[in-house]
């Protein structure tokens, strides 16, 4: 029993990281209609950007914004230089998915000669360990959970209370109508890539902090639970992605405690398949902030 409780505690950290990344991933899809399979590689590239700063002697907490800025700029450029031209040409969704897959491979293979095939670790102090029953979390892990909570609240506030958030929701619901209503949808899309790219950068850096070691190959591993959480919650729904992250994060950890670590992803995906069978649109697709108004 204590192992299950401990696993639940570790699941809080996992779900925090998945939540940050999955919200960014699903917002990209919701607003720009782009399933960006290069997301995991952008996470890793951002993690390496933060590592470069951290390795130069800067605190990882100061390097975290560098990772976020790198992710934002990188994602913005990816869209402007590669994705947007294809979308304007009328490339369909499947075609765009294939292009993003190609971009993912290109990023990984360009990164390899730059950063090498060595795994790296941030220079960080894990801080004191906090105990709550069988749950034991380090200071860094508690901070990661706090970062996730702040990011989630910020995204909620953005979408709910700001003009930009409303413009994003309108663009996601019907870009043509939004444009006819005077919303500068092009600028909204640019800002969406910057914001979701920043989330991607933050997610990559905190994932690197949590795992203690990462390499170029980690990108594809990061992507799997992100996609699962996004689909589980309802593609394009940030709040659904948050719920999906909770479920995927906790299921993977608890199943590792109950069944076998070998099957922890299998269990998570079995639940995903079950949800897809019972509710193909995902848990919150109809009520997501980026879904059609009304």
């Amino acid at each position: 029993m204590s192992l299950i409780v401990a696993a639940f505690g570790f699941g809080l950290v996992s779900m925090s990281i998945i939540a940050i990344s999955a919200v960014g991933f699903t917002m990209q899809f919701g607003i720009t209609n782009m399933i960006n399979l290069a997301y995991g590689q952008v996470m890793i590239a951002s993690a390496y950007a933060a590592y470069t700063v951290n390795n130069a002697g800067v605190s990882i907490w100061l390097a975290l914004p560098v990772g976020a800025i790198f992710g934002a700029v990188f994602s913005f450029l990816l869209n402007r230089l590669i994705y947007a031209p294809f979308q304007r040409k009328g490339t369909n969704l499947i075609g765009m998915v294939i292009i993003s897959l190609a971009v993912s491979l290109v990023i990984a293979n360009v990164l390899l000669p730059i950063v090498g095939y060595y795994s790296v670790s941030y220079h960080q102090n894990p801080g004191p360990t906090y105990h709550l029953g069988s749950i034991a979390l380090t200071g860094v892990q508690v901070a990661i959970i706090a970062v996730a909570v702040i990011v989630m609240l910020a995204i909620y506030a953005l979408l709910r209370f700001t003009r930009l958030g409303k413009a994003m929701r309108a663009t996601a619901a019907n870009p043509t109508l939004a444009r006819n209503c005077g919303i500068p949808t092009g600028r909204v899309v640019d800002l969406a890539w910057l914001i979701t790219g920043a989330l991607c950068g933050v997610a990559g850096t905190v994932a690197g902090m949590n795992s203690d070691s990462f390499s170029v190959a980690s990108g594809s591993e990061f992507l799997i639970p992100i996609i699962a959480a996004s689909i589980l919650g309802g593609a394009g729904s940030p709040y659904g992605a948050m719920i999906g992250a909770v479920l995927i994060g906790e299921m993977t950890e608890i199943s590792a405690a109950i069944i076998s670590p070998e099957y922890k992803q299998v269990v998570a995906f079995a639940v995903l398949v079950l949800v897809m069978v019972l509710r193909p649109q995902g848990l919150l697709a109809k009520r997501g902030a980026l879904a059609a108004a009304g």
Binding site: L3, A6, A7, F10, V13, S14, I17, L81, I82, Y83, A84, P85, F86, R88, K89, I99, A102, V103, L105, V106, A108, N109, V110, L112, P113, G116, Y117, Y118, S119, V120, S121, P126, T129, A136, T138, A207, N210, S211, D212, S213, F214, S215, V216, A217, S218, S220, E221, F222, E253, I254, A256, A257, S260, P261, E262, K264, Q265
Partner: protein
């Protein structure tokens, strides 16, 4: 509309430019420094260069480069210059098959292929054998113990022997009785688990837990907590990429800052593994708490010195090459390439169907064969009408009827610089005794 076309064109241009850079980066090949009117020969390095096992490929590429340099400096193989080329399998059979097929179809000048780890050997070896290309594989799978592939060669023992050597070292050298098995869930790593369990149980030790962990996960805290609850004396492990680093970091963290002793397979004697794990748990912890079994290599002698000199010299082509000076796999694959080259010289043929059978003779030696440690002396001896026996960087070769060669094991630690320090020896006879006792 025109603007749209231009933008799409620009996007395509960027994509192709990036692809070109990427392909140039990952599909690199060495070029021979010398010149010759004869057609060049190629050594294919087929292994994972990307993916979770990406650390393996460079160790094998580091074997090829010094071999090619030594051969080319001696005038090439009968005047044919030699170069090395990487073929990435990503550690996946599904990617390995097209990589092998492309390699064979595109390069009619392959003199030998090295690499083929457990990740891909089962799918690659049949292709190479059918194409009549001598291969020197690093797979540890027992299915190759009695292989019928005549072009297959293995200069390292099967993984089960690694597992038996770990068991022998843990029980005899350290007197550990309770062992946790923590291996990656990939084909190569799992090959150790069955033999280790059988040997441990057969010799009266306890397997406290057997964890097959998914590679590359961001965290293993639940797995580590479960493992710690079983109170092992030592952890046996092989989980490549960042996996062991993450796992061991969490062991230290969740065990109140105290690391448990952990013991690795010969694959963990690797600069990439060392860098990853020391980055996560600190150099001193690795020096104090980690041991590994490695192939029985002395890292000395004229064959090793020749290898080391050439390895250092190829740093201009591959800056990390000198870091592989004590990687058993690197040494043995270097030897394999040399044996193939000398077999070509002995048979005066570049046709693999002619020289393949002679590789075994060059490795084991035939009656009256003269021992050679460098390619140049080998060629010289052959030209004077002598048969040669190659004793190179990895020492003696003793191929059996299935072209499997085995030696004893050494028990090693790392020093703070990542160099291997021998702290014990297991001869082939001792290993065989453990195999018998463990029911192997």
């Amino acid at each position: 509309m025109l603007v749209s076309h231009h933008r799409v064109g620009r996007g395509v241009g960027v994509l192709f430019a990036m692809l070109t850079v990427a392909l140039a980066a990952c599909g690199g090949s060495s070029t021979p420094s010398g010149s010759s009117s004869k057609s060049p020969l190629l050594i294919g390095v087929i292994a994972p260069f990307t993916g979770p096992d990406a650390a393996l490929g460079p160790a094998y590429f580091a074997a090829c480069l010094p071999a090619a340099r030594a051969i080319n400096n001696a005038g090439g193989v009968m005047g044919h210059m030699v170069s090395c080329q990487e073929f990435d399998t990503r550690g996946e059979p599904a990617d390995a098959v097209p990589a092998a097929q492309q390699m064979v179809a595109s390069h009619s000048n392959l003199m030998a292929v090295v690499g083929c780890t457990s990740d891909e050997a089962a799918s690659v070896a049949p292709i190479l054998n059918q194409a009549h290309i001598p291969m020197f594989c690093m797979t540890g799978q027992s299915e190759f113990n009695k292989t019928t592939f005549t072009y297959f060669h293995r200069l390292v023992p099967p993984d089960e022997f690694d597992a038996f050597a770990m068991v022998g070292s843990a029980l005899d050298h350290f007197n550990y009785k309770r062992v946790a098995l923590v291996f990656g869930n990939d084909i190569g790593s799992q090959a150790f688990v069955g033999p280790a369990m059988a040997a441990l149980q057969g010799l009266g030790a306890t397997v406290t837990i057997n964890q097959a962990i998914a590679l590359g996960q961001p965290s293993y805290r639940t797995e580590v907590t479960a493992m710690l609850q079983t109170h092992p004396d030592v952890i046996f492990t092989e989980a490549l990429g960042p996996t062991d680093a993450t796992y061991m970091s969490e062991v230290k963290q969740l065990n109140n800052g105290t690391m448990l002793p952990f013991m690795g397979t010969s694959a963990t004697i690797d600069p990439v593994w060392f860098a990853a794990v020391t980055g996560a748990i600190g150099v001193q912890t690795v020096v104090d708490k980690f041991t590994a079994v490695d192939l029985g290599v002395s890292f000395s002698g004229p064959g090793y010195e020749e290898f080391k000199a050439n390895l250092d010299a190829v740093a201009s082509q591959f800056p990390d090459a000198p870091k592989y000076s004590q990687r058993g796999a690197t040494l043995h694959l270097y030897d394999g390439i040399m044996q193939a080259a000398l077999a070509m010289d002995e048979t005066k043929s570049t046709d693999p169907t002619v020289y393949n059978a002679v590789i075994k003779d060059v490795g084991n030696g035939v009656a009256g064969a003269v021992t050679v440690n460098t390619y140049a002396t080998g060629v010289s001896a052959i030209k004077s009408g002598q048969k040669v026996r190659w004793v190179g960087a990895g020492g003696l070769t003793n191929y059996n009827q299935y072209n499997n060669s085995q030696q004893g094991y050494i028990l090693v630690r790392y020093d703070a610089s990542g160099n291997e320090i021998t702290i014990g020896t297991l001869t082939q006879a001792q290993t065989q005794a453990i195999i018998a006792a463990g029911g192997g």
